[in-house]
């Protein structure tokens, strides 16, 4: 039986790299995909500053919550596109029929998507921290929290994207499917920033975020693969 399998061990990481680079290349050639979530986050945070008013103390009390909710929405809105183009042009079929481990292929796809949506939001975090009056010593911790959190959000959201890819418009359904799963990320994420601002111990919330991220990386691809396989039957 093993005789008919090709020698996949050499190809696994080459395939991972090829998938990652191919997806990044596609994203960078369609500029909107990676600019939109970032612009969305910046605009909504601007709206918050206008809505709450110029009082710095009122802004900074709610800053961590605002940033986390807005980052979550920005990433969630971009997720509909994660598998849709591949589903529409048949690339997804070819991916699912590959003898290479799908686990790594899905990992590469989500990672590429995170690089163009989550990472810009993390990198721009000093900018909107200042807009919301977060103290300078907490900005690095906010970025660290967002770095871990945005990864969790991408992986969990990708489950919703895989389940809705075969529907004509899955946008709102993704939100309904994934928002309940985002609750722990919001709780521990904003708690982490709050701890940094108030000078409370950071380790408990940091280890929770790390644990969630590792869990999401390990377990989410299994659900994503299941969702993508289902999409081919409808």
């Amino acid at each position: 039986m093993n005789g008919s399998k090709p020698n996949t061990d050499i190809g696994i990481f080459a395939a991972f790299n090829a998938l990652l680079l191919r997806d990044l290349r596609v994203y960078f050639r369609s500029r909107g995909t990676w600019l939109n979530p970032l612009v969305f986050v910046l605009m909504v945070i601007t709206l918050f500053t206008l809505g709450i008013g110029p009082d710095p103390s009122a802004l900074s009390t709610h800053a961590s919550g605002i940033i986390w909710v807005v980052a979550l929405l920005g990433i969630m809105l971009s997720l509909d596109a994660l598998f849709r183009a591949d589903f529409d042009d048949g690339s997804l079929e070819q991916l699912l029929l590959s003898p290479q481990p799908l686990y790594l292929a899905v990992l590469a796809k989500v990672l590429a998507h995170w690089v163009i949506t989550g990472l810009p939001i993390v990198l721009a975090s000093p900018l909107y921290s200042l807009m919301l009056g977060i103290p300078a010593n907490a900005i690095a911790f906010l970025a660290l929290g967002l770095l871990l959190g945005s990864g969790i959000l991408s992986f969990i959201g990708a489950i919703g994207a895989s389940l809705t890819v075969s529907l004509r418009s899955g946008g709102l359904l993704i939100a309904l499917l994934t928002l309940p799963l985002y609750v722990p990320v919001i709780i521990f994420g904003s708690q982490f920033v709050q701890s940094a601002i108030e000078g409370w111990p950071l380790m408990p919330t940091l280890s929770m975020l790390l644990g969630l991220l590792i869990g999401a990386i390990v377990l989410a691809p299994i659900a994503i693969i299941g969702g993508l396989r289902l999409s081919q039957d409808s």
Partner: protein, 237 residues
Amino acid sequence: MSIFLSTEASNHSTQTHISDEPSLVLDSVSCERGERLLVECLSMSLAAGQGVRIEGPNGSGKTTLLRVLAGLSQQYSGAVRWCGEDIRQARAVLAADTLYIGHLAGVKALLTPLENLAWWVSLHIPSLDPLSKESLLNALTQVGLQRFANTPCHQLSAGQQRRIALARLYLSQHRLWILDEPFTAIDTDGVALLEQRIAEHLAQGNMAIITTHQAMQIEGFSSYCLDKVEQKEGGGQ
């Protein structure tokens, strides 16, 4: 491996039940789409060096059947066996041996033909280095796209995009080809070249399942007709 198979196949081409020999067996396969039963209790077998052409009017279930055989769709009853193993269990074995080209070309419009092929090779032909451009360029030359190797695909015509997908046939060493309407949007000369390539593939002891509405002249092809579409629709109502 294919050379080895071709000698095997010429000796045993009539014996289909040796488990070492590649074979595809359909055991009373039925599939439905929506509420309609499209393929009912289909049994057939395919041995090394044989090809089958699935015929039938639009909506008779050709694509549905091909997607089942490729392992994409699980919505069927009965059993499909590849080299003696049920494809529900031996998904990886089938995937390693099968090349499937469906209605959707699987070609990214934002990438160039070369980049598209490299991506596909990294997924489906692990023994080939996707970065070695020589074999990829050779495949593109075979389908007449050498001049467009670095042109973004959205600037190419529908037929040219289809040819990128078909360039895979010149890289593939898969034992089973499942081609759903491969000649769509391809000009007459292109069709002749493809028929030649498919005949070559069969002569090497491999198998092919094809649907097409065009006339096809390849030796070793039997045809199977899914023509009961009207009857079944009437029965369902």
